[in-house]
């Protein structure tokens, strides 16, 4: 029905109050940012937001996103390390 899509703010529209032009994979849509205008930080071009039925519902915290990816990668690396350790111990055990 109505999904939430990440989009990048291309410009805050000067002539339309509460609107920003947002890009999703190169497709531009005018999005109402009125739900995000009471933060201390003003939205600006380059910010990423979550779009839902024509409105920006939340600002995407890029640091959190990177943190999430890094954690997954960390788990991945630890996982790979474990597999390697396991393989080596198997070999050691068999000898």
């Amino acid at each position: 029905m109505c999904l939430g899509i990440p989009g990048e703010i291309v410009e805050i529209m000067a002539d339309r109050e509460d609107f920003a032009m947002v890009s999703v994979a190169g497709v531009k849509r005018a999005v109402n940012i009125g739900l995000l205008t009471e933060d201390d930080e003003q939205l600006k071009a380059g910010d990423w937001i979550l779009i839902h039925v024509g409105f920006a519902l939340a600002k995407i915290d890029e640091r959190e996103a990177e943190e999430a990816i890094r954690m997954l990668e960390g788990m991945g690396q630890a996982y790979t390390d474990e597999l390697i350790a396991l393989a080596q111990s198997d070999l050691a055990g068999e000898r």
């Binding site: 029905m1 109505c2 999904l3 899509i5 890009s23 999703v24 994979a25 190169g26 497709v27 531009k28 849509r29 005018a30 779009i51 024509g54």
Partner: protein, 382 residues
């Protein structure tokens, strides 16, 4: 006292008349339920709706149902039962292909083309998909009172240009005018005749395990373009319709390899619908590789925004081909050697099981079923 939904009670009674449902009694016998569903799906189609809805024109299940239950039922003959885009005829020793189409796109003019382009290219393509060389087209116009004459000139000019590129002639036609409000500007109906010079029979039923599925280029451009061109959505994108004549590209493929089982242009209902038709007709299964399906990033972005799946979105200048697996590389090379097939790709293969279904391996590595389109996400796009 709450009312009853009588249509629902009736539907349930009918289904129960066909035998008990075993899902509830044997909670672990999921497979039996699924088998029963397959039998239900294979049952003779009927149209229960008292009125035509937009779903009937979407090119998906409702359309197929309508055609089977009403048109095929009344007109039944061996050629019609083939349900090809073009009928294969043998008349006075000549092997011909014959097709018809109607164009009701809204808006009439959109980035990359207009209803006139669609009318000529669409008809040329139906003929080309049956392996024929398109020769002649008819064009019938239904114009609404008040329609700007200049718009008609523009459309006709597009048709003339498209006909020249495709090497066909518009040899007969008709014009009707209906009262204001009784027609949406301009509707066009076409019929086309082509000559089947090659000694091949292309048919969806010919697909067999081991075959590969190719698509001639990125999908979804046309449908998304038209949706955005309606101007109802605040969306800007650099997407244009892919409307184009495919006769030359098709000929290139047929010249290069034998073992082409079928070709079909991916119009209403999109690639997913064609593949379902292949799976059902051949009673094999189609396995699609999501990562291999070419989609322009902007089409993907617009589709995400609109909540639609490019696999179901119409193209007007792309076709799907099923080819003998051993010819896959040659087929792909042939397509890519042609300017219109530069982004062609192998997107899947035909396997034996489960018969009649299309499966998708997601980019993520999971699997899901890709059913035929239900409902109508994009009304009147071609």
């Amino acid at each position: 006292m709450p009312r009853q939904a009588t249509w629902a009670e009736e539907a349930v009674r009918e289904a129960e008349a066909e035998g008990p449902h075993i899902g509830a009694e044997h909670r672990s016998r999921e497979q039996q339920v699924l088998d029963r569903i397959d039998r239900a799906r294979a049952r003779r189609p009927r149209v229960k709706e008292p009125r035509i809805t937009l779903a009937h024109g979407a090119g998906g299940k409702a359309t197929h149902n309508l055609i089977d239950a009403i048109f095929l039922e009344a007109f039944r003959n061996p050629e019609l039962e083939q349900m090809s885009d073009a009928a294969s005829l043998q008349i006075a020793g000549a092997r011909l292909a014959f097709t018809t189409d109607s164009y009701v796109v809204s808006p009439l003019f959109f980035p990359g083309g207009d209803i006139g382009d669609l009318a000529v290219n669409g008809t040329v393509n139906d003929l080309a998909m049956s392996g024929a060389r398109p020769l002649v087209i008819s064009a019938g116009f239904i114009l609404e009172e008040g329609f700007p004459t200049d718009d008609l000139r523009r459309i006709v000019a597009s048709m003339a240009a498209a006909a020249e590129v495709a090497g066909v002639q518009i040899v007969t036609g008709d014009t009707k005018v209906v009262q204001r409000g009784k027609g949406d500007g301009c509707y066009i109906n076409t019929a086309g005749i082509g000559v089947r010079e090659r000694p091949i029979e292309l048919n969806a039923a010919n697909a067999r395990p081991g075959d590969v599925i190719l698509v001639s280029g990125p999908i979804g451009d046309h449908g998304v373009t038209v949706m955005l061109a309606r101007g109802e959505l605040d969306i800007e994108a650099d997407i244009v319709s892919d409307t184009a004549p495919l006769h030359d590209l098709a000929a290139t493929l047929l010249d290069a390899v034998d073992g082409v089982r079928m070709m079909r242009d991916a119009t209403r209902g999109g690639v997913a619908t064609i593949l379902n038709e292949v799976a059902v007709a051949s009673q094999a299964a189609v396995v699609l590789d999501e990562a291999a399906v070419p989609v322009r990033p902007e089409v993907m972005g617009a589709s995400e925004l609109l909540g639609i799946d490019p696999l179901y979105v119409a193209c007007e200048g792309r076709f799907v081909a099923v080819v003998d697996g051993t010819r896959a590389d040659a087929a792909l090379a042939a397509l890519r050697s042609h300017p219109m097939g530069a982004e062609a790709a192998v997107i899947g293969r035909v396997v034996e099981d489960p018969p009649g279904l299309v499966l998708l391996k997601t980019t993520f590595g999971g699997t899901r079923i890709v059913d035929m389109l239900v409902g109508d996400p994009l009304p009147r796009i071609c």
